[in-house]
């Protein structure tokens, strides 16, 4: 199918992942950007500050005094009916934690770029997913991108997803620190008008019926129709409000699929079905699941091995929250062994996506053997030879029909 904007009508730019996000925000008619600098997110705010300084955007940029205030200001802005964006990483995300829950629970469609970085201590500026995993229960939609092109595309899509009246939840777009944020890549940008049309212009605030006003009104801080946001809510209503968040999450996959397809029609680019992206899984004995930029390495190794006749496949999980239980069960059910790669660990337990996939497969009568690989903590490199060794180990597990060693560590001293 021909896309509405063929490659020839798109703008080719050499940018890093952070700049790709900044350009996406620039085109998305964002009213308020509130952000605090933290490596490796800084380029996003630096680039955006240039747009502001040069009058290229109408956006109010708030150079807040902390990440806690960044998210707090986004909550205030979004409650006023504005489109709001912020970006952070690691400790900055940890400092935001309290307000992440409030943003989601007030159903504010804020978009947050998380440039994934390891949490302290020891202090480390490089990539892992421990920051993102700390917010997985906060009520946010979490998307993980593989490259800078996808960072650009997904940041724009995130506003559509967040603001969809069926959703009304904030979205975190995760891109791997340094591997994407600081690495130059050719990306294709849509013209401004295409992005604006895709988003339907400025943010439209959803309406709801308010009994004491006797009519449907926009849900925002509006002097014409006064509403109270963030009231005390005790045992008589809190649970029902949480149920509404649970229900909203259920509607997310359908919206993400739809947005993924619409973007494809516009740009010619899509990322699997928007939820997971697979390669070689149809006849695979061994399938590896992975989040983020490492998917590129794993896929290239899988391609090489498949050429050599090895039955291996890969599933990249693009949508981590809500977690795609059904989609993964469907794609993994016939594999003999599934290797689950996690760039984070829950100390005293397993990697976060391993626990989820275990739950996804629990309903199967005969289930694949699951092995959890913790990799790349603190930015530790995962070269192709290491990935190939992992596949070989998993093929051995398939041959043996099982393993006692369910939790393995990739590329760490003493265990390699």
């Amino acid at each position: 199918m021909a896309s509405k904007y063929p490659v020839s009508k798109q703008i080719l730019m050499a940018v890093n992942g952070d700049e790709a996000v900044a350009y996406a925000v620039k085109q998305s008619l964002v009213d308020v950007v509130a952000a605090y600098p933290i490596t490796p997110q800084t380029i996003i705010v630096e680039k955006f500050s240039e747009f502001v300084a040069n009058g290229e955007v109408y956006t109010e940029f708030i150079p807040v005094e902390s990440e806690h205030s960044a998210m707090s200001a986004c909550v205030g802005a979004a409650a006023t009916g504005a489109r709001a964006f912020t970006a952070t990483a690691a400790n900055g995300l940890a400092l935001m934690w309290e307000i992440l829950y409030i943003a989601a629970s007030l159903r504010l469609p804020i978009v947050l770029a998380v440039v994934n970085r390891a949490l302290s201590a020891p202090i480390n500026i490089h990539c892992d997913h421990s920051d993102a995993m700390g917010m997985r229960d906060a009520g946010w939609i979490q998307l993980f991108v593989e490259n800078s092109q996808e960072a650009y595309d997904t940041t724009i899509q995130a506003f559509r997803i967040a603001e969809d009246p069926e959703v009304l939840l904030p979205v975190a777009v995760n891109l791997d620190g340094f591997f994407l944020s600081h690495t130059l890549e050719n990306i294709r940008m849509l013209p401004d008008e295409a992005v604006r049309a895709f988003l339907g212009g400025h943010r439209k605030v959803h309406k709801t019926y308010v009994d004491y006003l006797g009519k449907e009104v926009e849900v925002k801080l509006d002097p014409a129709n006064p509403l109270s946001f963030g009231p005390l809510d005790l045992y008589d209503y809190y649970f029902e409000h949480k149920m509404q968040q649970i229900e909203a999450m259920k509607r997310v996959p359908e919206v993400i699929r739809r947005v993924n397809e619409e973007w494809y029609e516009l740009s010619g680019r899509r990322y699997g079905d928007g939820i997971i992206a697979t390669y070689g899984v149809e006849d695979a004995e061994v399938i590896v699941t992975v989040l983020g930029s490492t998917a590129g390495t794993v896929r290239s190794v899988a391609k090489k091995m498949r050429k050599a006749g090895r039955k291996v496949g890969i599933v990249r999980i693009r949508m981590f929250r809500p977690f795609p239980f059904d989609e993964l069960r469907e794609v993994l059910k016939d594999a003999r062994v599934v290797g689950v790669m996690d760039r984070a660990i829950s100390f005293g337990s397993y990697g976060p996506s391993y626990l989820e996939i275990n739950a996804a497969l629990s309903e199967l009568k005969s289930r694949p053997v699951l092995v959890n690989y913790i990799y790349g903590l603190g930015g530790r490199d995962v070269p192709p030879n290491l990935v190939e060794r992992m596949f070989e180990e998993l093929l051995d597990v398939a041959k043996a029909g099982g393993t006692a060693e369910r939790l393995r560590f990739l590329g760490v001293r003493g265990n390699v």
């Binding site: 009213d31 109010e60 902390s66 205030s69 200001a73 005390l232």
Partner: protein, 343 residues
């Protein structure tokens, strides 16, 4: 139907496209007849609490469309138990320490929407109400950031001198020797052992356009200062004195009397600081400065409050003296700085 509902609930509604410029009025009877306060009847604040009086008086100074931000605290909890609300204007509570940051975001959003022709009003004021915990302590960073960035927000502190919402724990706003549940008057320690953080002076040090102090007893002074704070272009800070009968241990009918005694003893002087003009004493505090014989001993303030009752014991005479010295020092310091104090 909707008109009747509005009438019934007493909401303040401002039509889009119309310009509002509500005049400053200091005639209480006329105000009561013509103005609706932002806070509606039916809230669950304690009898004798000064906070709703402060909010009510402050809202009589509003110019037109106004959005309120409330830090976590008594005022927030007691006015909004879902599905009820006591607020007749748009109101948001985000968290404890971030009222100033939330207000920053609102103010920025209003600017961006105005710039793109989507606001519908010529001007929307943003006002914060926050307690002493949310201002002196946990919210200080966000407040300082808001002040430094110059957001056009009026921040009104209602200072009841302890964490009252959680059960009377000491804060940076608690005065020396006051009993609280985390600074109890024990056999060894006679209440809080530290002084009160000079929060309004800290805000003056930010050199924002307008800083002032006020009490609900000196209501015309308070209303005038709220209006000045709203009219100031940029951040303004109003430190209001908010007696708490539960926390300070006094009878519910003397809240306003305690405010008067706080000012008469110079424990809580009334002043304003205007950029370019400096400190100016106002109302009763100016009168006292001109006629120092009117200044009452601190005992007059202390003797009606259970939180200070240990100071009245004969063996604690020296503590009362220390408290007097502390109050005198702060007052003398203010007199030296106030440009309208007699020399």
């Amino acid at each position: 139907m909707s008109e009747r509902r509005e009438e019934h609930y007493g909401l303040l509604r401002f039509e889009r496209g119309r310009h509002y410029e509500m005049p400053l009025d200091l005639n209480l009877r006329r105000l009561a007849e013509s103005r609706r306060p932002a806070i509606l009847p039916g809230h669950r604040l304690c009898a004798g609490c000064a906070a709703p009086i402060i909010v009510k008086l402050a809202s009589l100074a509003f110019r037109g469309p106004t959005i309120l931000v409330n830090a976590t605290g008594c005022l927030e909890v007691a006015t909004t138990i879902f599905p009820y609300t006591s607020w007749g204007v748009p109101w948001i509570h985000n968290a404890f320490e971030n009222a100033a940051a939330t207000a920053s975001g609102i103010e920025a959003a209003l600017k961006a929407m105005k710039r793109t022709g989507r606001l519908g009003y010529e001007r929307v004021d943003v006002v914060v109400f926050a307690g002493d915990g949310g201002t002196f302590d946990i919210g200080l960073q966000a407040l300082s950031g808001m002040a430094e960035r110059g957001h056009d927000v009026l921040y009104i502190l209602y200072d009841n001198e302890a964490y009252m919402n959680t059960g009377i724990q000491r804060s940076g706003g608690t005065p020396p020797f006051a009993w609280t549940t985390t600074s109890p008057a024990g056999r060894v320690l006679p209440g809080k052992m530290q002084e009160k953080k000079p929060i309004a002076d800290i805000m003056v040090a930010h050199r924002i356009p307008y800083v002032a102090t006020a009490t609900p007893a000196h209501w015309a002074d308070l209303i005038r200062k709220v209006r000045k704070g709203l009219e100031a272009e940029g951040p303004a800070f109003l430190h209001t004195f908010s007696p708490c009968d539960r926390g300070w241990r006094f009878d519910t009918n003397i809240t306003i009397e305690i405010c008067r005694r706080a000012v008469d003893t110079c424990y809580f002087p009334l002043w304003e600081w205007v950029r370019g003009k400096g400190y100016l004493l106002t109302d009763r505090s100016l009168t006292i400065a001109r006629n120092p014989r009117l200044k009452k001993p601190i005992k007059k303030f202390v003797e009606v409050q259970g939180r200070f009752k240990h100071l009245l014991k004969p063996e604690n005479k020296h503590l009362l003296k220390q408290l007097q010295e502390y109050v005198d020092a702060v007052w003398e310091d203010l007199l030296e700085r106030a440009v309208n104090a007699p020399r």
